[in-house]
């Protein structure tokens, strides 16, 4: 009887998860083995053909490589920035409420609006960035129009957008650290750096794990600004995996192939999350 109660309590969320997460995942895997149904013709079973197409799809490989660089740039940098900002706004100082709000603002703004603003930051000649580099006497650059800088530029936008959000988690974690630890460390003559390295940072690990999982997921999920700023260009230099999936699914209407691409994305994210939990769990100290 108790088991039934337990299941009944689980039921609402289980149904929601099942209907909106697990069932679509199974449907996607199923669809990835089928050709795209076109006018009147039902979807034919094609086995692994969609995956063979993927192996030969240059844009897919380019998007995958871009996405790895994008993750490699955005995840560590936004986490480091978040910790720095959290430490700063956690200290007793005037105007820290204002500062906290300023750091958090990017999170609240809609990404599409933000991307339109950044588009003008990067505009050659009179954009904000150009005015800065111009004042330093540097030559004008076409930041978003040059394949060697475009990906870095869109990564910066993602970091700017995310760091403030992660800061909130670190701020909460910092405030839950008992002040007695800092006092004890001071009595023992530990430097601030030593205190952070050996006391604060380890205590922040549960938060870091949570933030890192989110950051990795976001690095595959956050593509709104690509649509506004570069549309994957120049020559696919900023095409990310999810953006490629959107193109294949909703521009080319090749739903079978889009499903196969989605399965790959799911596998990557699943592996990344599993790996993070397995590797980091041993290093995470829960109070």
């Amino acid at each position: 009887m108790r088991a039934v109660h337990g299941w009944l309590l689980l039921l609402p969320s289980a149904v929601l998860l099942g209907v909106f997460t697990h069932w679509p995942v199974l449907g996607t895997i199923w669809a990835s083995f089928h050709a795209t149904p076109r006018a009147g013709r039902p979807a034919a079973f094609v086995g692994l053909e969609n995956y063979a197409v993927m192996a030969a799809d240059e844009v897919f490989w380019k998007s995958l490589a871009n996405n790895l660089w994008y993750a490699l740039a955005t995840v560590p940098v936004s986490i480091a920035l978040a910790i720095l900002m959290a430490l700063w706004v956690n200290s007793a100082m005037r105007g820290r409420t204002w500062l906290r709000m300023a750091f958090f603002t990017p999170t609240v703004l809609p990404m599409i609006a933000v991307a339109n603003i950044w588009l003008f930051f990067y505009t050659p000649q009179y954009g904000l960035l150009e005015q800065l580099t111009g004042a330093l006497g540097l030559a004008s650059r076409n930041w978003l129009g040059d394949p060697s800088t475009a990906l870095a530029c869109v990564s910066v936008v993602a970091i700017w957008k995310e760091a403030g959000f992660f800061m909130i988690f670190y701020l909460a974690a910092l405030q839950s650290i008992p002040p007695s630890l800092a006092e004890a460390a001071a009595l023992e003559g530990a430097s601030r750096g030593y205190y952070f390295r050996r006391v604060v940072f380890p205590l922040l690990m549960p938060t870091t794990l949570f933030v890192m999982v989110n950051a990795v997921i976001n690095s595959f999920r956050l593509v709104d600004h690509i649509v506004v700023m570069t549309r994957g260009g120049p020559n696919n230099a900023t095409s990310l995996l999810l953006y490629h999936i959107y193109n294949v699914g909703f521009s080319y209407w090749d739903t079978g192939y889009a499903a196969a691409l989605t399965v790959v994305l799911l596998a990557i994210l699943g592996l990344a999350a599993a790996g993070q939990f397995a590797l980091l769990d041993r290093k995470v100290h829960y109070q």
Binding site: Q125, N142, G145, D146, G233, Y252
Partner: protein
């Protein structure tokens, strides 16, 4: 108890079987993202039409950008309840046919008057609206590329401010004089700018057409990206940035190009006639509008949106939609729509209305697009259109950024397009 069941049954019947005399409702997807002056105009049209045509209700649905509207319309089509009519890109014609989503207008026309109506549009606009001998789309909000130039900057550079470059060599010579550098050698003003983000293939057609090249056949089953004239056009475009240094290098953002023009960072820009009202409002200087310069001939692609009628709507709804479309494209209304929005009025007789003649007299730039229509060609559109244009876009951007030579880029784009189109032969 029995009477309650009767009531319920009657209620159900009313829901399931609407009365025969009920109005025909025409849902109408229109691509605009946010409310504003345009939605007000369209709402006004719908209300006026309903007044003149009792028994038909028009329900405009504002569905976002062209791309979002297409996604919504096709998703609705796949789930069985598409809109009755929609304004979508003229280049989506093959996609909509391949999805079996639309019906040609031919079956909806009644009488000689209707048949004359279909023939009343500029042929340049119909090139993207007809295939296989049938009319699948009716031109509504159409545009084309023109050249805008800053007269003040022309004067400063010692050029005739009233004379726009008429040929490629003239444009290059003018652009050289209009490109200015400061003491350190940094460019402070560029001669010309042809945007290349997002949909560079469209602007590329403004170069290939004058060079006497076509990019695809009318059936939409073959492309000609690797023809010498096409490669030559791409070479010219690439050279403007990388060799002649009169245009910024790399990919140039479409969205910020008008702003560059307002900021006097560029002396000439290529962009859509749809920007005319925007430029008129925001340029703090005298500007001119000209046809694109010629090489072997003049030429520019058309663009913009057509009316389509969806297949899964009932016959009565489709016929009502055709009546609505016809009403929307009457000369007087086409003229007013063009004046209000900056789109090119889609039929010659719209330009002969008193309203339009007066408007053109006060603002001659508005007529440039019309005069260019006789040289215009269809925008690139094939089966599996988005994928084919993507192949070309990637090739163009690869050449502009120096990743590939124009010849190599176009060879690769052609190979990719041929691979995509092989199943439609």
């Amino acid at each position: 108890m029995k009477s309650i069941w009767h009531l319920v049954a009657a209620g159900l019947a009313a829901v399931v079987f609407p009365a025969v005399a009920a109005d025909v409702e025409v849902t109408f997807y229109y691509p605009v993202a946010v409310g504003g002056p345009i939605t007000k105009i369209v709402d006004g049209y719908a209300a006026d039409f309903e007044k003149e045509n009792p028994g038909i209700k028009v329900k405009p649905v504002y569905a976002g950008t062209y791309q979002e509207t297409l996604v919504k319309a096709l998703t609705a089509h796949k789930s069985g309840t598409p809109p009755v009519t929609a304004v979508l890109l003229s280049t989506d014609m093959f996609t909509l046919i391949d999805e079996d989503a639309i019906v040609p207008f031919d079956g909806l026309l009644q009488g000689a008057d209707d048949h004359a109506w279909v023939k009343s549009f500029y042929p340049a606009f119909m090139a993207n609206s007809q295939t296989g001998g049938k009319t699948w789309g009716i031109p509504f909000q159409r545009s084309t590329i023109v050249l805008y130039w800053n007269k003040a900057l022309f004067k400063e550079a010692g050029l005739d401010p009233e004379h726009a470059p008429a040929s490629w060599s003239e444009m290059l010579a003018d652009a050289r004089k209009l490109t200015r550098r400061d003491a350190a050698g940094h460019v402070t003003q560029w001669g010309v700018q042809i945007p290349s983000s997002g949909f560079p293939y469209w602007l590329f057609q403004g170069l290939t057409t004058p060079n006497g090249a076509e990019l695809m056949n009318a059936a939409g089953t073959q492309t000609y990206f690797d023809k010498p004239a096409v490669i030559e056009a791409l070479q010219f475009w690439t050279d403007l940035g990388r060799k002649d240094k009169v245009m910024p290098e790399g990919v140039i953002e479409w969205g910020t190009t008008p702003k560059d023009f307002f900021e006097k960072k560029i002396a000439m820009m290529w962009t859509t006639t749809g920007n005319l009202t925007n430029v008129k409002k925001n340029a703090g200087f005298d500007f001119g509008v000209a046809m694109l310069p010629e090489k072997k001939r003049r030429g520019s692609p058309t663009g913009g949106g057509n009316f389509y009628v969806f297949k899964k709507a009932s016959k009565a709804e489709q016929e009502a939609a055709a009546r609505f479309v016809k009403w929307m494209t009457q000369p007087e209304r086409a003229a007013q729509w063009g004046i209000d929005t900056g789109y090119v009025a889609v039929r010659p007789d719209a330009w002969k209305t008193a309203k339009m003649e007066e408007y053109v007299k006060g603002f001659p730039a508005a007529a440039v697009a019309r005069d260019q229509l006789q040289y215009s060609v269809a925008e690139l559109s094939t089966h599996d259109n988005q994928r084919v244009t993507k192949a070309l876009n990637d090739g163009i951007q690869a050449a502009l950024t120096g990743a590939k030579t124009p010849a190599q880029a176009m060879k690769d784009a052609q190979a990719e397009a041929a691979r995509i189109l092989r199943s439609y032969k």
